[in-house]
Subunit: 479 residues, 2 copies
């Protein structure tokens, strides 16, 4: 027996027993990632990378539809550039990797591997932007970044990750704010419709905002263990970088003015979110829109005459209508073994075809989200399969919405807060002070996730100090 | 006036006067790249990056159609891994960037930024490959790599570049060789049909092969200045890496055996090739299959009633049939100015529409490759435009083929060799010795580009030493 076969029958830790171990079991056993020889760096295996490719395609289409273009900026940033914006360097300098030697020689100036690219990009924008006609400048890049993390988990926090970072420059404050919120909405809609993750949107507090931003907005997802995952951020950088990098444009009125900027990003972390929102005791559950394989065909009694031929016919028909389909014609495993494996790998729909089905001119579809069996006539194969793919997508979203609702409470006192925070989001009032924010974290382990756009008036008083409440905040323990 | 307007009217150096300066003028003025604050690192601007995206899509489809899957491996490689394969470390150690500190701490073991990923990938394959059932393993990755170069030129040789690197493992020597040649053929067909570059294919000499390979195969393109560009390589790694990384599989016969491996890659260097094969005195000339914009619509007498409406109608109709089309409706520039700019940027077809054309129910198409004007009836707009796009693609290939033929000579003595080498490829006989290879380089500046699959019997004697000829070789000066 090959290693693969031996591996499969091993146990996945149950979610209730140990959610964290369940996560690790799933990512390894579903063959999404592996640990690499460099501590904190992961290898993304083909099945995991294919999810990322689908995410990229969906997002890239949205970026282009909103007028953005892709570019590519250097991996390495001179120390002096990184140090230009004060808050930015304070935030990032402690966690960068330093390149000190190149081609056997010590470098005159050390370089950092980009932890994010504001500084190198701003140095170019200063050169490119001259006139109001050059604005808005709407660029994005898909790349790798490195942040030296002490404690890492595949997808959620790794020393290297893949992401996209949008960087835009605008003539006015209003346009920059509009862009910041537009891209947040792109992320929200994408999370909702593609990942089937109903995220909360809102603004980060001063403490939690991006190093160098005026305002940071976020999409926050709730995991099945009650912890929140910051799944994407969009920053209004105001003129912070423009002033230190001297990015000025000649306006219509003949005046030289600083531009207003934004940046926004999502990363391979989203894959961690998909796993922890939708996964179950059998393993991974993938939303059809990002699943590398949407339908897997498992022939039953494969060596009976006509079965494999019919399976290939079905494969061709589904492929022709654009479904990502795979036919598992391995003769080394039984159908039951295959069922288990494809469930572990989260394939949204299993299609079974055997001699009796052929007799009845039908196939059997089994939904991964609820294990429902559906008999579909061969005459309606494409249409019904497409329908059920959409139903699974919708089913996962509904389930995730319900999960989030069940796990969201509000609190007027710290006892209720503590009780709620183990379940998930707690909505509570806050006076706006850093002191209370820190104290709540010390007492409960929870951080402010965001101030939502529509605040509810839960109370008049700050849940911590009892002073005048300024905001309703979503609190949670977070990844 | 904005900087852009001022920039445009500046002069492009003529190819004959100074090809190298022409190249630099074109890449900067056509807005493909810019120099970055880090020496040897370039910024790929949106217009240049869009060419890369089209290259990626075309290649990725071909890789997937031949059974390959994408994955992602870490950027950083521990020094000890890099040092495992002797030839490999000799070849690459002198040109790597070293990461010595992470997160304010000195690393216990220095890491190199990948110059290529054989070593880190092999360390994983040793873990993943257990049984003959795990073979063949056919993975590819799209990523950035860093090689510390002393002398750099955008696209052609930069300290960081983007590329894909395929890494495969096979059960037998024959399968590995088959894969090596299959991927070379994928590159050749892609260069020919997509880039309109008729490359020469063949094997590298021992001196010129990849550090760690048994055999290296190459696609070699000829530029309009008579220099060759190595445009892609495919390596048969034999068991060199398998043995030092201990990549063994249990075969059907119960024996543990080392795998046979290949690797193959092409990079953003291809964009340099496109520029130097097809460009002309007016600037860039892009093959339609990789052009970010295939058709640019320039309205004439734009403010006359109906012109802009008609232009938008044409835009919609061409977009609907999948043509990458742009409408230049800027009112800050004259049509003549726009003609020049889009010619500089190499857009394959310019579509002019003005009041008289509307009267005649026609548009004017101007081909970038030969400046031919074609009048097309609005009734046949889509069909004829698609035809002409194909004709431009074909026209560029024919032109490049003729250029290569004109610049390829053969030589039986060193005088003829020297004369031919200033024009382009020289086919000549070689005894197979490293001494002669080095001597020819010293005397003429030319290197062996490849031993083609079909050698011609030009002579019996080595062109250098007069000894028995072993091979016919393509020689050229090279980038």
């Amino acid at each position: 027996m090959s290693k693969k076969e031996q591996k499969f029958v091993t146990h996945i830790t149950s979610q209730e027993e140990d959610f964290s171990q369940w996560y690790t079991d799933v990512i390894i056993k579903a063959d999404l990632v592996d640990y690499s020889p460099v501590k904190g760096f992961m290898v993304i295996k083909p099945y995991g990378y294919a999810i990322w490719e689908n995410i990229q395609r969906e997002l890239d289409d949205r970026f282009k539809a909103t007028g953005h273009k892709n570019a590519y900026f250097p991996l390495l940033i001179p120390e002096s550039l990184l140090r230009k914006e004060e808050e930015h360097v304070e935030g990032f300098a402690p966690e960068v990797a330093w390149v000190t030697h190149g081609g056997n020689e010590k470098l005159a100036e050390p370089l950092v591997i980009r932890p994010t690219s504001e500084t190198i990009i701003c140095s170019m924008y200063a050169k490119w932007i001259q006139s109001y006609r050059d604005l808005p400048l709407l660029y994005n890049q898909w790349c790798n970044v490195v942040r030296w993390e002490k404690s890492t988990r595949p997808f959620l926090r790794t020393s290297e990750f893949l992401w996209q970072e949008g960087h835009t420059a605008h003539a006015t404050k209003e346009e920059a704010q509009e862009e910041t919120l537009k891209m947040l909405e792109v992320y929200r809609e994408f999370a909702y419709n593609v990942l089937a993750i109903p995220v909360i949107t809102g603004q980060k507090t001063e403490k939690e905002k991006f190093a160098g931003a005026l305002y940071t907005y976020t999409i926050e997802a709730l995991m099945q263990d009650g912890k929140a995952l910051q799944a994407g951020t969009s920053h209004n950088l105001a003129q912070h970088f423009a002033k230190v990098f001297d990015i000025q444009y000649l306006d219509r009125d003949g005046q030289l003015k600083y531009v207003w900027q934004t940046s926004w990003g999502v990363s391979t972390r989203l894959i961690g979110g998909i796993i922890m929102v939708h996964g179950d005791e059998r393993g991974l559950v993938l939303p059809p829109k990002v699943a590398p394989i949407q339908v897997v065909i498992v022939p039953v009694a494969m060596h009976k005459q006509g079965v494999l031929d019919k399976a290939y016919e079905i494969y061709d028909r589904l492929k022709k209508v654009g479904i990502r389909v795979e036919l598992d014609d391995r003769d080394t495993q039984s159908p039951g073994w295959k069922f288990n494996e494809w469930e572990l790998k989260g394939v949204p729909i299993r299609l079974e075809i055997g001699p009796r089905d052929i007799e009845n001119n039908q196939v059997v579809l089994v939904r991964r989200d609820n294990l429902d069996k559906v008999f579909v006539s061969m005459n309606e194969l494409e249409e019904k399969t497409l329908d059920i793919i959409n139903e699974v997508q919708r089913g996962l979203l509904d389930k995730a919405l319900k999960m989030r609702e069940d796990r969201t409470t509000f609190a007027r006192d710290i006892e209720a807060f503590k009780k709620g925070i183990d379940k998930g989001f707690v909505k509570a009032m806050w006076c706006g002070s850093r002191e209370c924010e820190d104290k709540i974290k010390d007492m409960t382990g929870a951080t402010t996730r965001c101030i939502p756009f529509k605040e509810e008036q839960i109370d008049d008083k700050c849940i911590c100090c009892g002073g005048n409440a300024k905001h309703m905040v979503y609190f949670a323990k977070a990844y």
